[in-house]
């Protein structure tokens, strides 16, 4: 395939392989050395680097925002949106007052392919793969649901203990290197103020908790901010979202990412389910990638703007 020579010629309106996305990351860093750097926070089970782009205008260990896409590998519109977010940040910094103000105060960390083994597998073996690719001892079934492997209500209802299930929680908390790497990074950084984990395709914006009906202590603020975010999102194409706590909006989900991040004290912890507004599900046509990314960006900006104006 014709490899783009720079990120301006990268085609954001089509789905890309993992090597194309990793090349894009290196090009973006090379083109924006004063704003973007790449941190490898660990390795996947099959030995792929877990790449995180850091967008920073200086300072040391500034308060930070985390965004991840692709933790469920078949949800292709999320990795594609993450790639578009990265370009949007470098394009708008210095031009758009809002993102400029955020970056003059905070760092943004973006992991586009959070489950690289699964993503590679969806391109080469099984388009419908969701989980990681680590074998499960004693079972012929492979992989753990990386959004059930976190130390927050692990083992409670809302995940499966069956290795063959799509929601298999794994043998123990943080047993997947893709999860453990983020856990270690977040703990060592210790100054994250917002954490956003992105899925598709139920069109929802959710905050903790997923494993319990007990409301989180910041429920009112998180609910109001979610409402604002999805109102901004809908302003572009009218895409309607529902919002609320995970357990009240989608279903009980234990051991999920943002329950753990919230319990670490990261108040603005959210998870998105991006669109399908039609009947394509995970096979969303590529021409919907950019509209998806653009509307989602409006919601992300609402969350990041609020975070930067309410650093705690």
């Amino acid at each position: 395939t014709a490899e783009p020579r720079n990120t301006d010629s990268f085609d954001f309106s089509r789905y890309h392989t993992i090597s194309e996305i990793y090349s894009f990351q290196d090009m973006l860093v090379a083109e924006n050395p004063n704003l973007v750097s790449k941190i490898v926070i660990g390795q996947s089970y099959e030995g792929r680097p877990l790449n995180v782009l850091k967008f920073s205008t200086g300072g040391t260990n500034r308060p930070a925002i985390w965004i991840d896409t692709g933790i469920h590998s078949r949800e292709w519109v999320t990795q594609a949106s993450g790639t578009w977010f990265a370009k949007k940040i470098v394009t708008d910094y210095g031009r758009d007052p809002a993102i400029t103000a955020i970056l003059n105060k905070m760092d943004i960390f973006l992991e586009m392919v959070t489950n690289p083994d699964g993503y590679y597998y969806t391109h080469n073996s099984n388009r419908m793969w969701r989980k990681t690719r680590k074998p499960n001892s004693g079972s012929s079934c492979v992989g753990v649901d990386p959004n059930r492997n976190w130390d927050a209500g692990f083992g409670a209802p809302g995940a499966s203990d069956n290795p063959c299930s799509e929601t298999y929680r794994g043998p123990s908390v943080h047993s997947e290197s893709e999860v453990k790497s983020i856990v270690d990074f977040v703990k060592s950084h210790s100054n994250f103020k917002a954490f956003v984990s992105i899925h598709s395709y139920s069109q929802m914006l959710m905050y903790p908790y997923g494993y319990t009906k007990t409301p989180c202590k910041d429920q009112t603020e998180l609910h109001n901010l979610a409402k604002k975010a999805i109102t901004d999102l809908a302003s572009l194409y009218g895409t309607s979202y529902t919002y609320g706590s995970i357990i009240n909006t989608i279903y009980q989900a234990s051991g999920n990412t943002i329950d753990w991040t919230y319990d670490q004290g990261i108040k603005y912890s959210y998870t998105f389910e991006l669109r399908d507004t039609g009947r394509y599900g995970f096979i969303l046509p590529a021409d919907q990638i950019i509209p998806n990314a653009k509307e989602t960006w409006l919601a992300l900006m609402a969350i990041m703007d609020h975070t930067s104006k309410n650093i705690y």
Binding site: S13, N126, R127, M128, S202, Y280, I283, P285, A286
Partner: protein
């Protein structure tokens, strides 16, 4: 490479909580080898499930015998996947 010829994705709409719990029970029917794309949430939100070709008839009979409404969201998943692959390759070219 895993292929999905004849696999359909059904969009199931529950009329009430009773039907919703019947749909939820499908999750435990491992013999159907179902893949829930969008799980059971509430009555107002449809459930999308990929059904392998070999269990299509059984699943449809199971739903119809309980008067649970469904529509075919994706007629043949492999056809869509082939189109997706072709689009990627032609765009890359």
């Amino acid at each position: 490479k895993e292929t999905f010829e004849g696999h359909q994705v059904l969009r199931i709409v529950a009329k009430d909580e009773t039907q919703l719990s019947l749909i939820k029970n499908l999750e435990d029917m491992v013999e159907f080898e179902l893949d829930f794309w969008r799980g059971v949430t509430d009555v107002s939100t449809p459930v999308d499930v990929r059904v392998p070709f070999h269990s299509l008839q059984s699943v449809k009979i199971h739903l119809e015998s309980r008067d649970i409404e469904y529509s075919i969201m994706i007629e043949d998943l492999q056809v869509m996947l082939d189109e997706e692959q072709q689009e990627m390759e032609s765009a890359a070219r």
